[in-house]
């Protein structure tokens, strides 16, 4: 037990720093809630104008909430090692003799908490301001699907951080390439059934698409575990593949970085 706690210490330390840092300047919450809310409002008003069923309000709120996590994976976790390298922190991490994925785990946990607070604020705005309605019976399956989605997404983040480690500033392009297209494909504001079949097939390979669909089914339609086991299994399998793969790639990239000097030489 003490060995597990010891191994988790760097993750706790990194999460602690992240949460503490965010809490120091509380205005972050305002900006990071206000901006997504504006986009969310515009889509809700569009649906309203089209006389779409009321369920679409909840649909958009869930999409906005979960998309926050995707952007957190990309911008808060994916490129973290690049920034840590630029500030000299990466050297300190490497010298600490701890597995670097533990630091990323800490980053992920801190990010999840901060993003969770943001998403909760958006949920409340969705309910109180826009009148979104959710089915309380779907809370447990929705939570399960949501947690598995996070596990799969942050495992992907582990892989992205390796790419940023190798490609440095150019890695930011990865975020740009993945940000909006994934948001488009996963159906942030609309059901992916509107896509042609081929695009639907591609979209259904994304953990975010599965997660969004599962959470919406549970919270909006009240579907239970009996209807969501495919979502849960899909996300579980994705996590089981992506997590070890992410750790393996990260370790390989750290070794490659030690070999070619990219870990420490800022010009590389």
């Amino acid at each position: 037990m003490s060995r597990i706690l010891d191994a988790l210490r760097p993750a706790y330390a990194r999460a602690w720093v992240r949460i503490r840092g965010n809490m120091r300047v509380k205005t972050w919450l305002l900006w990071e809630v206000v901006l997504p809310t504006i986009f969310m409002a515009s889509v809700i008003y569009a649906y309203h104008n089209l006389d779409a069923p009321r369920i679409f309000i909840g649909f958009v709120v869930v999409g906005t909430m979960m998309m926050n996590f995707w952007f957190n994976v990309l911008w808060g976790m994916g490129n973290v090692l690049y920034w840590e390298k630029e500030t000299g922190n990466l050297e300190v991490y490497l010298l600490s003799n701890r597995p670097i994925y533990m630091l990323l785990l800490g980053m992920a946990l801190g990010g999840m908490l901060n993003t969770g607070i943001r998403s909760l604020a958006i949920l409340l705005i969705g309910i109180l301001v826009f009148g979104a309605e959710f089915n309380a019976a779907g809370l447990l399956p929705a939570t399960l699907v949501f947690l598995l989605t996070l596990a799969a997404l942050y495992s992907l983040g582990l892989m992205f951080s390796s790419l940023h480690l190798v490609y440095g500033r150019k890695g930011i392009r990865i975020n740009e390439v993945l940000g909006d297209p994934i948001s488009f494909l996963s159906g942030q504001y609309y059901p992916i059934s509107v896509f042609p079949t081929l695009l639907q097939a591609v979209a259904s390979l994304l953990p975010l698409t599965i997660g969004l669909d599962g959470v919406r089914r549970a919270l909006l339609l009240g579907e239970g575990m009996e209807n969501l086991y495919i979502h849960l299994a899909g996300l579980g399998i994705m996590t089981l593949i992506l997590l070890p793969l992410g750790i393996w790639i990260l370790n390989r990239m750290v070794e490659k970085g030690r070999r070619d000097g990219r870990l420490i030489m800022r010009w590389l």
Binding site: R14, N89, N97, R98
Partner: protein, 322 residues
């Protein structure tokens, strides 16, 4: 005496757009424990590359290196458990957090529990003299305080061997002096067993280091105590001249067989320059006539004592910062 650090034919090459650049070219070093060892060399000489290899952050292209008896590639984890590295001019940490919070964070990374980390941070802050800055945000600290903070961070894991890469880089005279005093104290009072310090400040190395290696273009070109190194140029003649007049380079001085090396520095007086020249034998009259032929006016001539800078001048033929 036990060996703290040993390198055998250490080579490190980097691939660049212009081809392969050899940063270290067969470095052989043996550093005994219990001392401050200086690695002196100009920018780009290979000091940082060597220190990064010894601290396991970079792999050598070939050759071997041992720190505390452990191989830096095969036993990297064991090496990391007994070392730490502090780089001058860097500010690792999070500006929005206080000095204390940053140090607690790093201490936790090194495996301390939150409570142990707080205790360790207090110990180290007292040792370094950081107490009054502990509740200040990192981005509010002066450069000198940041360097003290970095030193404190380097002590958190109680390392046996500490690597200091240009520890006074960018500091003013007073802060640099204060950091040097701290470094000396760490070894003298037994907090750190061995320090390997890189610098391109001669006086720093002269003041602090028990032994010195001079590194140039990736090779160790001289090694010994400061006194031993000076002794090796004791038969040479050193003058410092104050010049006025023609500016530009003084390469014509190399026409004289007696001239081994020289260094020119601008004086505080406009139009004046200081020339430090090292000669194999007494030949100052020919130097002066040559200067005068080239339209220089020699305002002042002083025969000087040998310094570490002269050792470098003799070995490389130019000053460290040229």
């Amino acid at each position: 005496m036990e060996t703290a650090i040993k390198t055998i034919d250490l080579v490190r090459e980097f691939k660049t757009s212009k081809g392969v650049f050899r940063a270290l070219d067969g470095v052989n070093l043996e550093i005994p424990s219990g001392m401050i060892y200086g690695l002196l060399g100009p920018n780009g000489a290979g000091k940082t590359t060597l220190i990064r290899i010894l601290s396991t952050l970079l792999l050598p292209t070939s050759g071997d290196a041992y720190v505390g008896g452990y191989h830096v590639v095969r036993e990297a984890s064991k090496v990391r458990s007994i070392i730490n590295l502090v780089s001058g001019g860097e500010r690792p940490g999070y500006g929005i957090l206080t000095t204390r919070e940053n140090l607690i964070y790093y201490a936790m990374l090194y495996g301390y529990s939150r409570r142990e980390a707080e205790r360790r941070v207090e110990e180290v802050s007292q040792l370094i003299g950081l107490d009054e800055f502990m509740n200040k945000r990192l981005n509010e600290l002066s450069t000198g305080m940041v360097q003290k903070y970095s030193l404190a961070r380097g002590l958190l894991n109680n390392p046996r061997i500490l690597f200091l890469d240009e520890p006074t880089l960018g500091l003013d005279v007073e802060n640099a002096r204060s950091i040097r005093r701290l470094i000396r104290r760490l070894v003298d009072e037994g907090y750190i067993e061995t320090i390997l310090l890189t610098s391109h400040y001669m006086h720093e190395v002269e003041e602090l280091c028990d032994r010195v290696a001079i590194i140039h273009r990736g090779r160790i070109i001289e090694e010994g105590t400061v006194e031993e190194l000076k002794e090796r140029v004791s038969s040479h003649v050193i003058y410092e001249l104050t010049l006025q007049g023609s500016n530009g380079n003084l390469d014509f001085l190399r026409e004289l067989d007696s001239v081994i090396g020289y260094k020119v520095r601008l004086s505080n007086v406009p139009g004046e320059a200081r020339l430090r020249i090292i000669m194999a034998y007494e030949d100052i009259s020919r130097v002066i006539s040559l200067l005068e032929r080239k339209m220089y006016r020699v305002r002042r001539i002083v025969r000087d004592e040998i310094s570490l800078e002269d050792v470098f001048l003799k070995l490389v033929g130019r000053g460290l910062d040229e």
